[in-house]
């Protein structure tokens, strides 16, 4: 994993469920074929109600119309991010759009596990809900060694919980890479 993850931030509220992350009608595309795979980037977070998309102002699409990638590399959200279904297409869609990390105080467990085991993005836990401390478009930098996120735009930093048990899987890049490294098969 890189020492830092830097990018523009996209801010969301509480309980962003997997239907908002990638609406069910889009789950038909291949995750391997490049011309289909890019559709996951196009529709990532397209299920979020307009007023809640890109806080605090809202009305900001994560991926612009007709584009396949987002300009936002980091998501900061409220509690219980990724609740709902077990669709791995959710962290996958965020990755395809260009998202490298999410910061939220808590996650739904299947989303968290999928993000880690699939090596799609790093799900950081903040100690409290810091989503109000960021505005969509702010430049942020995550220090992955010090477990800190800095809002470069405002100059304020917040600590993140260490990855703990899953750090080795994140570091390896997913459960398969991890298992091979440990000669599990």
């Amino acid at each position: 994993m890189n020492k830092t993850i830097r990018g523009k931030v996209f801010v969301l509220g509480d309980d962003i469920d997997t239907d908002q992350i990638i609406p069910a009608q889009h789950l038909v595309y291949s995750l391997e074929k490049p011309d289909e795979k890019r559709m996951y980037g196009r529709y990532a977070l397209s299920g979020v109600p307009e007023a809640q998309s890109g806080l605090p102002k809202g009305g900001v699409p994560f991926t612009p119309d007709h584009a396949y990638e987002s300009e936002y590399g980091v998501i900061v959200a409220g509690k219980n991010f990724g609740c709902g279904s077990s669709r791995e297409h959710a962290p996958f869609a965020l990755q395809v759009a260009g998202c490298k990390a999410v910061i939220a105080p808590t996650y739904a467990r299947i989303f968290y596990r999928n993000a880690v085991d699939g090596g799609f993005l790093v799900p950081y836990e903040s100690f409290s809900d810091v989503s109000k401390e960021f505005r969509t478009g702010d430049e942020v930098e995550i220090d992955t060694e010090l477990n800190l996120v800095a809002n470069i735009t405002t100059g304020v930093s917040f600590p993140l919980r260490p990855l703990g048990d899953v750090a080795d899987i994140v570091e390896a890049g997913g459960i398969f890479a991890y298992a091979r490294k440990h000669n599990m098969f």
């Binding site: 009608q25 299920g47 109600p49 609740c83 808590t106 299947i110 596990r113 699939g118 459960i175 398969f176």
Partner: protein
């Protein structure tokens, strides 16, 4: 220190005498379940990681039940069924239930018990969050993603963190016109959509043990809506009778130790339970039906793994018999068997099918259908600003289709009564009983 039922199953599956909550253990998997949405990507990862000619770890332990996007003209969705079909042929899988054949089942969580795959004491993983339904049978059952499923396909193992257990006890007899759906909506409303995150939810007490298997499945089905990892109910005579009638496969039931340690315990008196709804747009946005009585609706929907079982349709038919619906009402049986039973089960000599037809309901094919929206041509999908009352499990924004729609979750009794009047209606008011 004793262990809970969930801890006992995970200890057995990991070959340990004892496990504590919080421990990460590698378990041997008894059954892996997948379907048409998550099966194809799982197969893709399996082939990439284990090789194009790799064989699954145990073809008798893999169950593939296409159920999500079946009756659609969406070419990608149909292509995904072809991928499953090819994989089943190539791996010679005995438990593949193909679309367009008389083996076609419908919603996997309702079909798994029918086929005897929900066995007490076993470990079931599935690429669907409502896999937790099978906990009603005293099985450890939880949802996973494609990568984890592909890992199991190749190795038969997966790591799992042992969850703490929250206990929910119901005392007394369930009152008339109250269903298991009302109980679980009450719980989710009380603890929130993340109230059980990373934990097991166990349902107990005479009020639960007096429910039939379908009622118990409604409870465990929706633990994921509280963030729970798995839901579980101790197996008893009701469980064994159901399972033994469907499989002669050996299993080893597990039970709570008398000195098991719980995260928490809540006790509910059945006599206090009310018909409940979850208001838009979250399963924990609870209200009693009394509080929202009269809310105008444009649609009613009875279906899904949560509310599309035979007993759900019997309940709906008890209310709908002799009446006509006031809003578009969709009937979607969870499985082919249940759909056939609509034509054989009768109330006072009239079949459920005929009751629904006479009431003006639209009856669909067995599948997940509009519970999760799906392709634009999905039966019952909310394509605009509908206000729907539904027996399904989620009402997050856009869950049943359009972001502009709004969904109330309720029991089959409440949905049926509301369908007749076109406004949210307490089934007891409709029947005219005094409460």
């Amino acid at each position: 220190m004793g262990m809970t039922l969930t801890e006992k199953i995970l200890a057995k599956a990991s070959g340990k005498r004892h496990v504590d909550p919080g421990a990460n253990v590698w378990v041997n998997v008894d059954i892996l379940l997948t379907h048409d949405v998550c099966g194809p990507p799982t197969i893709g990862i399996f082939k990439k990681e284990f090789g194009a000619d790799a064989k699954v770890w145990d073809k008798n332990k893999l169950v593939i039940i296409p159920d999500h996007y079946i009756f659609t003209s969406d070419v990608y969705a149909n292509r995904n069924i072809d991928i499953l079909r090819r994989f089943a042929a190539e791996q010679d899988l005995p438990h593949y239930y193909d679309v367009g054949t008389d083996r076609y089942k419908g919603v996997c969580h309702a079909a798994m018990p029918e086929e005897g795959f929900t066995r007490p004491g076993d470990v079931l993983f599935g690429t669907d969050s409502h896999t937790c339904t099978a906990g009603a049978f005293g099985q450890f059952a939880t949802g996973i993603g494609n990568t984890d499923a592909a890992f199991i396909l190749g190795t038969g193992k997966l790591w799992v963190k042992v969850p703490e257990t929250m206990k929910f006890v119901f005392e007394g007899e369930i009152p008339p016109w109250i269903m298991a759906k009302d109980l679980i909506l009450q719980i989710i409303g009380d603890i929130g959509v993340d109230g059980a995150s990373y934990r097991a939810m166990e349902f107990a007490g005479d009020g639960v043990m007096n429910l039939d298997m379908e009622g118990r499945m409604t409870l465990t089905n929706m633990v994921i809506e509280a963030g729970g990892k798995n839901g579980v109910i101790e197996p008893d005579r009701t469980t064994f009778d159901y399972v033994r009638a469907r499989t002669d496969y050996a299993f080893e039931p597990q039970y709570n130790d008398p000195d098991a340690k719980y995260h928490s315990s809540r006790v509910y008196k059945m006599k206090d339970m009310q018909p409940m709804v979850a208001k838009p747009h979250s399963p924990d946005n609870k209200a009693t039906v009394t509080e929202v009585r009269g809310t105008k609706l444009t649609r009613a929907y009875i279906g899904s793994c949560t509310g599309g079982k035979l007993s759900d349709f019997v309940a709906a038919a008890r209310i709908l018999k002799g009446h006509h619906v006031g809003v578009d009402t969709y009937i979607v049986p969870a499985t082919t068997l249940i759909r056939n039973q609509l034509r054989t089960e009768a109330i006072d000599g009239q079949t459920l099918w005929s009751i629904f037809e006479d009431a003006g309901c639209k009856i669909g094919e067995a599948s997940c259908a509009a519970c999760l929206g799906g392709p634009a041509d999905t039966f019952g999908r909310l394509n605009g600003e509908e206000i729907c009352i539904s027996t399904t499990n989620r009402n997050f924004p856009g869950r049943m289709g359009s972001k502009k729609s709004a969904v109330f979750l309720a029991s089959p009794y409440t949905v049926a009564a509301s369908a007749i009047h076109g406004v949210i209606t307490d089934p007891r008011d409709h029947i005219g009983v005094t409460v």
